[in-house]
């Protein structure tokens, strides 16, 4: 199995452990990833309100680079926000001739052109649909029996494009957690927004979102995420939210490939576990050797 790889900006900084663990798990499962050379920012959620065309063009630049690797290539994207932006641009290139012409007019400025002939895939899509329980089980060497996992999907890998899971009642993470022997927490918050950038720009509202999710995760040993924004909101702000509510809401938060990597016996350095902001001592002793 071969994919082009678009890490996105967060995975080079605050979400480096997501990048490390994605590469480590894919390599261990025999999947080859080729990073798109000279990729640039997808525009995140900042470009679109300032300029819709800029947002599409920034993502299309990366699609154009990916297309040079050949028509029909698949791009693996771990960040949900990057995934959605690249998908929107790809959708416009594929299905809207007028937009395609406008985007390509803009791309002339950087000597590129794009047709929309690649496929944009979220990491969770590839892990659950292409690899799945069957292909990953043989690599599992440890049992996490007795652990309870709260699977947190977030928003943009599920909505608005419905590609690989139910956008309101997702289950794609469950078999991946179950092959480790761990149990799934039954909860309603797996698709509830983490507050995204509101945590920075409108903290009263943003932190309220984080609080709701952390409260609901009580009873789980850890939360598993598939998006850098979800991760930093849930792990980076949990001490602040605990302070605000006067309730201890601390909980271990891991990226899905970190959790899978641990079960596959991959060493913690390769999974970037020293970079996480919320791994509780009890969890460390029990799981990370």
């Amino acid at each position: 199995m071969k994919y082009l790889y678009y890490p996105g900006c967060s995975l080079t900084a605050t979400a480096r452990e997501y990048d490390l663990s994605t590469r480590a798990v894919m390599a261990a499962a025999g999947v080859s990833l080729t990073e798109i050379d000279d990729w640039t920012c997808c525009g995140a959620s900042a470009a679109a309100p300032l300029s819709h065309l800029l947002s599409l063009s920034l993502s299309a630049r990366n699609l154009a680079l990916a297309e040079q690797a050949g028509s029909g290539s698949q791009i693996l994207v771990p960040c949900s926000a990057c995934y959605l932006n690249l998908k929107k641009a790809n959708d416009a290139l594929q299905n809207d001739a007028e937009r395609r012409a406008t985007i390509n007019e803009a791309l002339k400025a950087v000597d590129l052109s794009a047709n929309g002939n690649v496929r944009v895939r979220h990491l969770l899509d590839v892990l659950s649909m292409d690899l799945g329980k069957k292909r990953l089980s043989p690599f599992i060497t440890r049992s996490f029996k007795g652990l309870t996992v709260a699977p947190y999907y977030g928003c943009q890998c599920l909505r608005p494009y419905v590609e690989f899971d139910d956008p309101e009642r997702p289950v794609s993470m469950e078999p991946l957690v179950e092959i480790t022997g761990a149990e799934i927490l039954s909860w309603e918050m797996g698709t509830r927004c983490c507050g995204a950038s509101l945590v920075s720009t409108q903290p009263e509202t943003g932190l309220e979102r984080v609080c709701t999710i952390l409260k609901a995760a009580k009873g789980a040993d850890l939360i598993v995420t598939v998006c850098p924004m979800c991760q930093i909101n849930l792990d980076g702000w949990q001490s602040k939210v605990s302070q605000m509510t006067g309730e201890d809401l601390s909980i271990t938060v891991l990226y899905l490939p970190q959790f899978l990597g641990l079960a596959m016996g991959i060493d913690d350095k390769s999974l970037g576990l020293d970079l996480n902001l919320a791994i509780l001592d009890g969890f460390k002793e029990k799981i990370i050797q």
Binding site: T14, T40, P49, L50
Partner: protein, 195 residues
């Protein structure tokens, strides 16, 4: 409930586009019931759409509703008329930023500083972006809100202070081209341009 205002400009191009998209709205309120941030909004999403359809730009700009949209797409998914609701909230943010509405200064600066680092380096350098944001906000207390997290991130070497040495791909040419295309477009249709 809402006063008419002579400053409302029913021919405002940008609002016209959103208005046309939202005309089929039946005011059912599924969006409001689905919105995780509705409780913090001064106007529910449903009421916001009504104002858009009525062209009440002054009332719209006085509300914080659209700035509290966190792009979760739940309303878009559930809307029985299939309307592009999340993108409409996004477009309203764009109008507010283009009008330099003072109540949205912080959010506007956050987005603008973010895009400036993208323009300059091709990728976001989180520490530089936050430094630019704090400097532009001119509020000496803001950095302290982020300090505990910033120190943790520095400790993990996830962010670095100052300018990184890694290679950069400036995107000035692409940004300039898009701006020129939008200006030309605004000239032909009378649409409000974005900065």
């Amino acid at each position: 409930m809402f006063e008419t205002d002579k400053n409302d400009n029913p021919t405002d191009g940008s609002l016209n586009v959103i208005q046309a998209n939202l005309r089929p709205c039946i005011q059912c309120g599924t969006c409001t019931a689905s919105c995780p941030n509705a409780e913090q909004m001064d106007l529910t999403p449903r009421k916001m759409w009504r104002l858009v359809i009525l062209g009440r730009l002054t009332d719209i700009m006085a509300s914080k509703t659209f700035i509290l949209c966190s792009d979760c797409y739940t309303c878009t998914l559930r809307c029985p008329r299939g309307l592009p609701l999340t993108e409409s909230m996004e477009a309203l943010k764009g109008i507010a930023f283009a009008r330099q509405e003072t109540q949205f200064r912080n959010s506007r600066l956050f987005y603008e500083k973010f895009m400036q680092t993208v323009r300059r380096y091709g990728r976001v350098r989180e520490m530089e972006f936050m430094t630019r944001y704090f400097t532009a906000m001119k509020n000496p207390l803001t950095p302290f809100r982020f300090a505990p997290l910033g120190i943790k991130l520095l400790g993990k070497r996830k962010v670095t202070i100052g300018f990184g040495k890694s290679s950069a791909t400036p995107l000035d040419a692409l940004f300039d081209k898009v701006a020129a295309m939008e200006q030309a477009q605004a000239g032909t249709t009378g649409k409000e341009k974005t900065p």
